[in-house]
Each structure stands twice: as structure tokens, then as C-alpha cells.
């Protein structure tokens, strides 16, 4: 038990060492900076507290996070559903492949002006942008994962007459799980990018909107603090994602470890 705690301590130490060094360096190098665009870190920290703790948390951060989550979950849902459909049907795959490749090749930010023309500049349009941009890694990974379901396992399921929804829930989705989760991880960072960009284009609130506003009104320390907040938000989400991945793919990591002979 004692060694376990020591082990955790060590992990934490390794994880925190570099950030602490970087912050210290930034602090030291920027202290007494007279450059208007690169204020001292101490000033940015002060601005961070003043800017974000309070009403802005509710009026700007929360709407951003809500749009991000709805858009991201929408993308996962659509991606997995379509992926299962296409992965299980060769004809459908061959018919849709060129079209999907085309849509995937369009950089999602390029669609923002068009989408805003049709869907207005409200939340719906922003959610659509996030879904459209981040659906691809989930969709394509799901297709690959579904196609690669082990043949013996598939035969086993067939011979025990495991079909329909049971087959989907107990065989197809878990078997494609590792690939789906890898796609979801990529999709998460794309979703964050699109959340910010869509708010920078046209919005009345949100994190991206705030950062642009600060920049335009020369509130430079506030602008920096917004960027820091975005970094922290992304970091927190990726930590949450790691927890989710460890829970859903526990079997996969165990299997891999046993195949490498590290029982």
C-alpha cells in the first residue's frame, strides 16, 4: 500500500514537473515586460481571476461548453450509427465512399459562412458545424472497426444464433470499441477547435467570441487569460476522456497486456 502511494506520488511528480518549469520560465521572462502585447504573466493571472470568475462563467463559458458537448455527442451518435450501417454493408459502403471522402476533404471552417446563411448565427448553426467537422474520425473508425470483427467470433455468434440487436450490443459494438474510442478521441479535439472558430465568426457570447472581443478592444491580458482558459478546458476534457476510455476498454488493455505476456 505504501509503495503504491509512493508510485502515485512519483507519477504526479513527473506529470507536474515540466508544467511547473514552463510556468516559472514564463513568469520570470515576462516579469517587468513593457511589450504591450506580451504583458507579464502576473498581470495575466490577475486578469484571469477578474475576467472569468463571476458572470462570464455563466454567460460565456457555459454556453460554449454546452454547444461543444451537444455537438460532440451528436457527432459520436451519428458517426457510430452510420458507421455500423456502412461497416456492415459492402454495397452501401462502395456507393457512399466517394461522397464521404469528398465531404471529409472540405475543411469544416469553410462551411461556416454557408451554414450561418442557412441556419442563422444561433446555437443550432454552431452545433451543426461541430457535428459536421468532428463526425468523420468517428464514422470512418467505426466503419473500419465493424469490418474487422473477428471471423471466428462472428461464426461463433452465428452458430449460437446471436442476431439482431443482441449481436450489435454484444458483438459488433464491443469488437469495434477500441477503434471507435480512438476516433472519438480525435473528434474531441476537432470539436473544441470548431467550437472556438464558430464563435469567432459570428456570435453574441462564448469563449471564442470573448477572445476576439478582447483582442479588438485591446484588452490584451484578458485575451491571454481566455487562451489559457481554453487550454485548461481542453486539458480537463482529455482527462475526463482518459477516465472514460479506461473504463470502457478495460478488457482491451487487459487482453493486450496478456498477449504481451505481462499477466
Amino acid at each position: 500500500m505504501g509503495t503504491r502511494i509512493a508510485g502515485w506520488g512519483k507519477t504526479l511528480l513527473f506529470a507536474l514537473a515540466l508544467p511547473v518549469v514552463l510556468i516559472a520560465a514564463w513568469w520570470a521572462l515576462s516579469a517587468g515586460s513593457t511589450n504591450y502585447y506580451a504583458p507579464p504573466l502576473s498581470t495575466i493571472f490577475t486578469a484571469f481571476g477578474d475576467t472569468w470568475i463571476g458572470a462570464r462563467m455563466r454567460d460565456d463559458v457555459l454556453p460554449s461548453v454546452v454547444r461543444l458537448l451537444i455537438g460532440y455527442l451528436g457527432a459520436v451518435l451519428v458517426g457510430v450509427a452510420l458507421g455500423v450501417l456502412l461497416g456492415g454493408n459492402r454495397t452501401l459502403r462502395r456507393v457512399t465512399e466517394p461522397v464521404l471522402e469528398f465531404f471529409r476533404a472540405i475543411p469544416p471552417p469553410a462551411l461556416i459562412p454557408i451554414l450561418f446563411l442557412f441556419a442563422g448565427i444561433g446555437d443550432t448553426a454552431k452545433v451543426i458545424v461541430i457535428v459536421f467537422g468532428s463526425v468523420w474520425p468517428v464514422l470512418l473508425n467505426t466503419v473500419e472497426g465493424v469490418r474487422a470483427v473477428d471471423e471466428v467470433l462472428s461464426d461463433t455468434s452465428r452458430s449460437y444464433r446471436i442476431t439482431g440487436l443482441t449481436r450489435l450490443r454484444r458483438l459488433v459494438l464491443p469488437a469495434a470499441g477500441p477503434q471507435i474510442v480512438a476516433g472519438m478521441r480525435q473528434a474531441l479535439s476537432i470539436a473544441i477547435i470548431l467550437m472556438v472558430i464558430s464563435e469567432m465568426f459570428a456570435s453574441t457570447n462564448g469563449l471564442g467570441f470573448s477572445i476576439i472581443q478582447f483582442q479588438r478592444s485591446f484588452a490584451i491580458p484578458q485575451m491571454w487569460s481566455g487562451i489559457l482558459l481554453l487550454g485548461l478546458l481542453g486539458f480537463a476534457l482529455s482527462l475526463l476522456f482518459a477516465v472514460f476510455e479506461r473504463r470502457t476498454l478495460r478488457w482491451y488493455h487487459g487482453l493486450r497486456a496478456s498477449q504481451r505476456g505481462e499477466k
Binding site: 473477428d150 471471423e151 471466428v152 467470433l153 461464426d155 461463433t156 452465428r158 452458430s159 449460437y160 444464433r161 446471436i162 442476431t163 443482441t166 454484444r170 458483438l171 464491443p174 470499441g177 478488457w251 482491451y252 487487459g254 487482453l255 496478456s258 498477449q259 499477466k263
Partner: protein, 289 residues
């Protein structure tokens, strides 16, 4: 060959031709045999004899090009309800995301059995294969032999009329293999299930079966249908060292050697190409097993 009981499984003139990429391969030429209710029949043949193809046709996983498979009087046109299959690749036939218990229970869930009965069957089946303690483990935490026991327990819990086994012990070590062979014999005695056991191991086929069907090389036909007149009570030590076992083994061995050179499209009286010199080494190595 007289049938003491009505046929549980009837295979009639089954032929399987694979086509694709401008090439056709006839894996199975013409197979006809039947397995009586409650019989334990082994199919043995040289490697590449289309054993797995045949088994998949019987299991309803592959459609034969021509011919029919009949199970308990009904033509097989897809995986039948009263049949279970144990595959060679145990590592790939168990669901790695489910526990041992979950694996055994899933077919029962799919068959919509009530929860109480499922629990009972799972417990009994795991006990029958000696894995009652391991119910909460994941398959990949178990040894190869134990994993194959889980696959057997899953088949046992399913209570099929016919159990197909496709070289189930080819990938486990010799000691484990002997244990598993005895497990199959004892389960067969206890459950009264009909078993069709495919193997490439001659000793295994003679030790396990009441009958041994010897297959030719691909395109495959049945070369011989041999009754194994060993006593019903068998054990690894006495049975394998009995003179009759040696005779039967010897006989099947000769047939397999013939089978290696004789394909289904040759007449039996046609002389097989003589490559006995090249096979001398194989024989010696196998005899030392």
C-alpha cells in the same frame, strides 16, 4: 456398417466449390455419411482435406454447392437451433469483453431463457468442466486449456442435440489435451449428446470415437468408415497401450498415408504415386510422439 439408432445427422452427397478471382477450387467432392443419435464420431483426414469446410457446411455457416445436410429430420439451411460448435481457435471464439460467466450465458440470453434457468445452467456447465471457481475471470486471464473448457461449457449450457468440434485441442499442450479428451468422453457419457469431432490427430480419433471416418485429400470423399471396437470405458493409460488400440491406430495411419496421395477424383484401385521414401521421416517422427 449397421446403424443401431436412427440418424441424428445425415450428410448426403455434399459438395463445396469455392469460386472467386477467376478460379474455382473444389474443396469437398462428395461426402455422404450419417451419425446416429447419441453417437460419438470422429472425422480424421490429412491436413488440407477440407475438414473445416465440411464442418462449416454441417453447421449451416456455409452453404454447400450441392447436396444436403439433415439434422434430426430437418434440412439445414442456416445455423440450426439444436447444434453447437466448438472451434479450434478458442482465443478467437470467446468474447474478450465478457467474463467467463457472460460468455457461457450469452447464447442462453439470445435464446430468451429466463434468468433463473440461465444462472442454473451456467453454474452447472462451469462445474461440469471444472471451472466453477473461474466464473468471474476474463478469458484472457486463463490458460489455453481453460479457455477451451469455457468454450465447451458454453456448448454444454446450450444443451444442443449435436455438438460439432473442429480440431478443438490442436492448439493446447499434450498433457492438457489428454485431460480435455477425457472431459469430452465423460461429458458425452453424462449428457447423451451426439458428437462429431474433427481432428487431424489419428491417436485422438481412435481414442475418442465409436467410429472414425477417414477422409481423402481435397477434393474430399470418405475413404473409410471404421468402427472402433474398443471397450466403452477408456482411459489414457490402458486404452492407449492396448494391442487393439495399436492395431486400429496402425490401420487408420495407413489409410491416412494412402489418403495423402489419393484424391477424391481417383478411383480406389488406381495406384497412388509412390512417395513413401519421402514420408519415412514423417512416420518415424510421428511414431515417437
Amino acid at each position: 456398417m449397421t446403424q443401431p439408432t436412427p440418424a441424428m445427422l445425415q450428410v448426403d452427397a455434399v459438395q463445396k466449390i469455392y469460386t472467386g478471382h477467376g478460379r474455382t477450387v473444389e474443396a469437398v467432392r462428395n461426402l455422404t455419411f450419417s451419425v446416429g443419435d447419441g453417437e460419438l464420431v470422429c472425422i480424421v483426414g490429412p491436413s488440407g482435406a477440407g475438414k473445416t469446410t465440411l464442418l462449416k457446411c454441417i453447421a449451416g455457416l456455409l452453404e454447400p454447392t450441392s447436396g444436403t445436410v439433415t439434422l434430426a429430420g430437418e434440412a439445414v439451411s442456416g445455423p440450426p437451433e439444436s447444434m453447437a460448435v466448438v472451434f479450434q481457435e478458442y482465443g478467437r471464439s470467446l468474447y474478450p469483453w465478457m467474463t467467463v460467466e457472460g460468455n457461457v450465458e450469452l447464447p442462453l440470453k439470445a435464446a430468451k431463457l429466463p434468468a433463473g434457468e440461465r444462472r442454473e445452467r451456467v453454474r452447472d456447465a462451469l462445474e461440469a468442466v471444472g471451472l466453477a471457481e473461474a466464473h468471474a475471470a476474463y478469458p484472457w486471464q486463463l490458460s489455453g486449456g481453460m479457455q477451451q473448457r469455457v468454450a465447451i461449457a458454453r456448448a454444454v449450457a446450450y444443451r444442443p442435440k449435436v455438438l460439432l468440434m473442429d480440431e478443438p485441442f490442436a492448439a493446447v499442450d499434450a498433457q492438457t489435451r489428454a485431460d480435455l479428451e477425457d472431459l469430452v468422453r465423460s461429458l458425452w457419457h453424462r449428457l447423451g449428446v451426439t458428437i462429431l469431432f474433427v481432428t487431424h490427430d489419428i491417436d485422438e480419433s481412435v481414442y475418442l470415437g465409436q467410429r472414425v471416418l477417414v477422409l481423402s485429400s481435397s477434393p474430399t470423399v470418405v475413404m473409410e468408415d471404421l468402427t472402433i471396437d474398443l471397450p466403452d470405458e477408456r482411459n489414457q493409460l490402458d486404452t492407449r497401450s492396448s494391442p487393439r488400440f495399436a492395431e486400429l491406430r496402425h490401420h487408420v495411419y495407413e489409410q491416412i498415408q494412402l489418403a495423402k496421395h489419393r484424391k477424391g477424383d481417383q478411383r480406389p484401385d488406381e495406384p497412388a504415386p509412390d512417395r513413401s521414401a519421402a514420408h519415412g521421416a514423417t512416420v518415424a517422427a510421428d511414431a515417437g510422439r
